[in-house]
């Protein structure tokens, strides 16, 4: 059944707070509160109007039960519907999906969605992240690292489709070019890189080398968005970015667990390490919006390793299954003339924040012509992919400058 929710809700306010390593140290809660107030201000709503508060998973740097309540307590709001959206990296976009459902159901007028993380300021992310991405009983004791968990997918993906390290490296090169233009990108001062640089960088966990890997964002970022219904967006707000379609799919918890999966999309016939929930989520988003891949002007993907970008380009529909390598090698995502892809530099060069809406923020900025880095001309429709590892949880959202239906 096709949902009629596409273009019935819109983002009408955005706020952001960033703390770099060189700034005064901030907690995720501090950043989140500042971003939330900024979003409400831009939307022109009072705190008494916030009907729902949806937050992503509790920040790694502020792990507590009921984080959502800590934030609403700080903001002094009394939402009638609130929740943390837990599929971690995918839960960021999940907050807006839940907001849209609540708005479309008519139970609230305004939802506030907030993601905030500052693990780059407070934690050893390289050392600690595997604690979130590997099974403590059945994986971690073998000496797992986050790259080694993703490398299991890389090994199969490259084996099954003949993907080469050179093709993967091309993603790192193009991501870096976008990052050099962005004032907040982690690698903005590091200069361009070549395919050879990637192939000569230190082996981390075969087949992944240093420059195939995301850089952890050396700071903290909070992003907040106010979402409302179409009628209110048109009547009361100067600027709206329309939520044209969305989808979500989570398939497993750990890599090893995934290999016991079968009987559900996208692993109907049995487990594998190549078909992810992004395939399912993208299909939902396209159907809801009535759009197809050729309609998308700009794409942001949440991909912590170079090969994941190729998988996602395939699963989001920009090329066929197994064709991601050829697509990228033949200029498909070139900074000059390709599909505008990860226009802040992506996880590989802007940097990865453990959870966040900053990719959606960038897309909204591009749509309204105010991107902080390189501006892409005439963006009407953008796609954002959010993911929680290891390739476990996926969200896809399509946003547009004008309502589509």
């Amino acid at each position: 059944m096709r949902s009629d929710i596409g273009s019935k809700t819109a983002i009408v306010g955005i706020g952001r707070a960033i703390a770099q390593k060189t700034d005064e140290k901030k907690t995720p809660l501090q950043l989140g509160a500042v971003a939330a107030v900024a979003a409400m201000k831009q939307a022109g709503i009072k705190r008494s109007q916030v009907g729902a508060l949806f937050t992503g998973r509790a920040p790694q740097a502020y792990m507590m039960l009921q984080y959502n309540q800590a934030l609403l307590n700080e903001l002094k709001i009394g939402p009638t519907f609130n929740s943390e959206v837990t599929p971690h990296g995918a839960g960021a976009l999940g907050t807006l999906q839940l907001a849209s459902l609540a708005l479309h159901a008519g139970v609230i007028d305004y939802a506030l969605c907030v993601t905030n993380e500052a693990s780059g300021l407070w934690m050893d992310q390289v050392g600690s992240n595997v604690g979130w991405e590997g099974d403590l009983q059945f994986e971690a004791p073998y000496g797992c690292t986050t790259p080694a968990l993703y490398a299991q997918f890389a090994c199969r993906y490259m084996h099954e489709y003949g993907i080469t390290p050179e093709q993967c490296a091309r993603v790192s090169v193009e991501n870096r070019r976008w990052a050099l233009d962005h004032p907040h990108a982690a690698m903005r001062h590091k200069g361009p890189i070549t395919v050879e640089d990637v192939l000569n960088s230190r082996m981390i966990a075969s087949p992944l080398r240093m420059l195939d890997c995301a850089v952890w964002y050396p700071g903290g970022i909070a992003t907040a968005m106010v979402v409302t219904r179409a009628d209110l967006a048109k009547a009361k707000h100067q600027e709206a970015t329309w939520i044209a379609g969305f989808g979500q799919c989570t398939t497993h918890e750990w890599v090893g667990e995934r290999m016991g999966g079968f009987g559900y999309a996208p692993m109907e016939d049995g487990p594998d390490l190549v078909n992810t929930g992004a395939l399912v989520a993208a299909k939902q988003a396209y159907e809801m919006s009535g759009l197809k891949p050729g309609d998308i002007d700009i794409v942001q993907t949440s991909a912590p390793f170079s090969f994941v970008h190729l998988m996602m380009l395939e699963e989001l529909g920009f090329c066929g299954r197994g064709e991601g390598g050829d697509f990228v090698a033949s200029g498909g995502i070139d900074y000059d003339g390709g599909l505008p892809f990860n226009t802040m530099g992506g996880y590989l060069s802007f940097g990865q924040v453990a959870q966040g809406l900053y990719n959606l923020h960038e897309t909204v900025d591009q749509i309204h012509g105010r991107a902080e880095g390189r501006k892409v001309a005439d963006v009407e429709i953008g796609m954002v992919h959010g993911h929680g590892g290891p390739l476990a949880a996926h969200s896809v959202m399509i946003v547009s400058k004008e309502p589509l239906q």
């Binding site: 050893d124 059945f138 000496g143 690292t145 075969s206 890599v255 290999m259 079968f262």
Partner: protein, 152 residues
């Protein structure tokens, strides 16, 4: 001792980590304790659903096919093939550094169950579809664990 208040900076210098893994601990749970007891006896046990004849991962609580929670432990052949692998060069923690590079991967057992494991090059190198045989070794954190050795 000075009474002067020092500004709070509670995390500076502290190595904030992610829980028991960094203490080198794993915690067998009620549904996995029999698996780990088998490991102590150097036996590889899997869950088995007599209702539907399914071999299942040692963590399973219910059979995904028939819903039965009467899963028994049954000894597996210990033979399988490499499904995927990675040679880890940057070790997980100082405890593992002396072993790097080491190979971790997913093995598909003859019973159809996949296990995440350490793969040890034997008389042949590690590659996809290479045949492997279970062995039991004390790894870097001091635990006895099932590992898989590449067979000739």
């Amino acid at each position: 001792m000075s009474n002067a208040a020092t500004p709070a900076d509670w995390a500076n210098g502290l190595h904030l980590t992610a829980g028991p893994y960094f203490l080198g601990l794993y915690q067998p749970s009620p549904e996995t304790k029999d698996f780990w007891a088998g490991v102590e006896l150097r036996e590889l046990l899997l869950k088995f659903c007599a209702e539907s004849g399914n071999w299942l991962h040692p963590k399973r609580i219910v059979c995904p096919d028939c819903g039965s929670d009467k899963l028994e432990m049954r000894r597996a052949s210990g033979r399988g093939k490499v499904y995927s692998f990675s040679e880890v060069h940057r070790a997980a923690s100082p405890a593992f550094a002396k072993s790097a590079p080491y190979v971790i991967g997913v093995v598909r057992l003859e019973e159809g169950v996949h296990l995440f494991t350490r793969i040890i090059p034997g008389s042949a190198p590690v590659k996809i579809d290479a045949p492997v045989q279970v062995d039991f070794r004390v790894l870097e954190l001091g635990q006895l664990l099932p590992v898989f050795v590449v067979a000739a």
